[in-house]
């Protein structure tokens, strides 16, 4: 949205706290062991994935196949690095671009579909892309997974942490700027009323394709980065359930605000790991969170602070009017 002059103070505070947070995050590895670093890397990656899913969501498209684009990025980068011996730094970017191109190509037919048909089509697309991976076993090693992907750095985890931190900051910066600007406004307009949008000159399909391109680019980028970190990827990493989980993270975190996917990713990715031996039961917690959200907090976790504030205000009002009577 357009910010006027008198908001500058608030903006300065926001920027200062962001900078402070980033500094803290940069210093964090000094206190973290290898396992925590791995967790942090995962969380950062899921923040990127869930946020990119939201960019597609705000244009009115519910994508049930997002993980497949992560996979396109991962496999493209891995195969180029293995087969053509290109440096991962280049192939990661190419992975992102490949996913972006895929998203745009898909967008052409899909952007004319109404909401529920788009959801179904994206569901099938995600599964089809995963199946396609198995169609070219010479390239992809099919279901056994692609191994020995060239590393981005050496064996210690710290450089990877900084890499993903940088990628996350970059992604969030770009996505934030996009959402709170003319482009973001156009995407949200299309989601609310395609009739009104066309009457003011907005092409619905162009806007939706743009959203898909942006969302898929960052998803592919993160996926490619992950491939060169874990050195092993398999089709099941990018199949239906991973796509559904991304959607769950987004919904539980809250779709209405930029921070929603970030909160959702952090909470829902960390909790299973904090459950230690009960890790197998983690999905129950996830499902429980999901049910809780749809019944009680439809706008997601991120809306809790505001809700508690207005709840406290209501209580206070009631108490005041009681004592007055």
């Amino acid at each position: 949205m357009i910010r006027r002059g008198f908001f500058t103070n608030k903006k300065a505070v926001k920027m200062a706290s962001c900078a402070g947070l980033i500094i803290l995050l940069c210093l964090a590895p000094l206190f973290m062991g290898s396992y925590s670093l791995h967790l942090a890397i995962l969380v950062l990656m899921y923040i990127i994935l869930t946020s990119s899913l939201r960019t597609i969501y705000i244009s009115g498209q519910l994508s049930l196949g997002h993980a497949a684009f992560v996979g396109i990025g991962a496999y493209t980068s891995a195969i180029l690095a293995i087969r053509l011996d290109w440096t991962p730094w280049g192939t990661i970017l190419l992975g992102g671009l490949a996913a972006m191109v895929a998203g745009i190509l898909i967008g052409f037919p899909f952007s004319r579909l109404r909401a529920i048909y788009f959801a179904m089509a994206s569901l099938f697309l995600g599964i089809m892309i995963t199946a396609l991976i198995a169609v070219f076993p010479e390239l992809t090693q099919s279901y056994t997974g692609l191994m020995n992907i060239p590393r981005l750095f050496g064996f210690p985890k710290e450089p990877y942490y900084y890499f993903f931190l940088g990628l996350t900051v970059l992604t969030l910066f770009v996505l934030y700027r996009i959402e709170h600007s003319r482009v973001g406004m156009t995407l949200k307009a299309v989601a609310q009323s395609h009739l009104a949008a066309s009457s003011i000159g907005i092409s619905e399909s162009r806007a939706r394709i743009l959203a898909l391109g942006i969302g898929c680019f960052f998803a592919g980028l993160a996926g490619a980065g992950y491939a060169h970190y874990s050195t092993l990827i398999a089709p099941t990493d990018f199949a239906l359930m991973p796509s559904i989980y991304l959607l769950v993270y987004l919904l539980v975190g809250g779709t209405g605000s930029f921070a929603g996917p970030i909160v959702g990713a952090i909470v829902l990715v960390l909790i299973p790991y904090l459950m230690g031996g009960f890790k197998g039961f983690a999905p129950f917690f996830l499902a429980g969170a999901l049910i809780l959200v749809i019944f009680l907090i439809p706008q997601g976790i991120v809306s809790l602070p505001d809700r508690t504030k207005s709840w406290i205000r209501k209580l206070h009002k009631r108490r005041v009017s009681k004592s007055a009577s």
Binding site: L62, P109, F110, R112, L113, R114, I116, Y117, A119, M120, A121, L123, F124, L125, I127, M128, A131, L132, A134, V135, S142, A239, L240, M241, I244, L247, V248, L251, G280, F281, P283, F284, L286, A287, G288, L290, I291, I294, F295, P298
Partner: protein, 286 residues
């Protein structure tokens, strides 16, 4: 020639009828409640494993096990209609999300209790029937027969019985049906119970002619939605056609091409249908 084709034909018909059985349950819930029960595949899988427990672990009679499985899944259907779907009748997004939560719960429960091992139910009948030179497995014929009988019974029920007619009415216009004095909540609950019962039965039948594994819930969900898309959302009759087409593709495809290519082509076909004619070949727009 016939003796080679016949078993394949039976396979196609049997696979198709299982798809049709499962898809019908899904379509029933959708028509009456306007909700896409994404958990339908998971209930099918649960049905398969429940049947396994009754039949193999507890040692009940196979037919009784199948019947009990249907009952259990039907009761579960009542439960989820009341608590999971009724609150979200008008909000399709929330209903889908609720179904996703169910899938996660059921899938995880299966992972934890059964794990990755593949299980199988014994055949319903081990005899092999010979018709001329053709050797057909009796159990597949039996499954086919059960499916056809059930589908016929379902058609008769919907066309002739008062409850069935009520379901049709609600499927066309929920509010008008309510104004006519039809208890929409109770009929919806019944539809959901029937749908889930059918899913459970299909799972049990598949367990006895094929295998049970925890991945089957997602696999069948995709097939079901594909069938419904080919048929057209809202069309019950078209499901026969959808089931046959998909059954044929899946039974024959992997022989002609590799499994992966056959899968991809099948999925590509569905996407094509969605893009070109989302309302399917027999249905109406949502």
């Amino acid at each position: 020639m016939v003796s080679e084709v016949a078993p394949h034909l039976v396979n196609v018909l049997m696979l198709s009828s299982i798809y049709v059985l499962a898809a019908l349950g899904f379509a029933l819930v959708f028509s009456v409640m306007r909700i896409m029960n994404f958990a339908h595949g998971a209930i099918y899988m649960a049905g398969g494993y429940i049947c396994y427990y009754f039949w193999v672990v507890f040692g009940f009679n196979p037919w009784a096990s199948l019947a009990l499985t249907m009952l259990v899944t039907a009761l579960f259907g009542l439960f989820i209609e009341k608590f999971g779907f009724r609150p979200f009748q008008l909000d399709f997004e929330k209903a889908i999300v609720m179904a996703i939560a169910l899938v996660i719960i059921l899938q995880t429960a299966a992972n934890l209790t059964v794990g990755p091992t593949v299980k199988g139910l014994p055949s319903l009948l081990t005899t092999v029937i010979g018709v001329g030179d053709v050797m057909l497995k009796a159990d597949r014929l039996v499954v086919l027969a059960i499916c056809i009988l059930l589908l016929a019974a379902l058609s008769i029920f919907i066309q002739k019985s008062k409850v069935g007619q009520s379901m049709l009415a609600i499927a066309q216009d929920r509010d008008a049906a309510a104004l006519q004095g039809i208890n929409t909540n109770r009929i919806s609950a019944l539809a959901c119970a029937m749908g889930c019962g059918l899913a459970g039965l299909a799972g049990g039948l598949v367990g006895s002619v094929l295998v049970l594994h925890v991945g089957m819930s997602n696999v069948i969900l995709v097939k079901i939605i594909a069938v419904v898309i080919i048929a057209g959302i809202g069309s019950i009759g078209g499901i026969w056609a959808g089931g046959l087409i998909l059954g044929a593709l899946d039974a024959v495809g992997p022989y002609v091409l590799s499994a992966a290519v056959s899968d991809s082509l099948g999925l590509g076909l569905i996407i094509l249908i969605l893009v070109i004619r989302p309302q399917g070949f027999f249905g109406q727009e949502v």
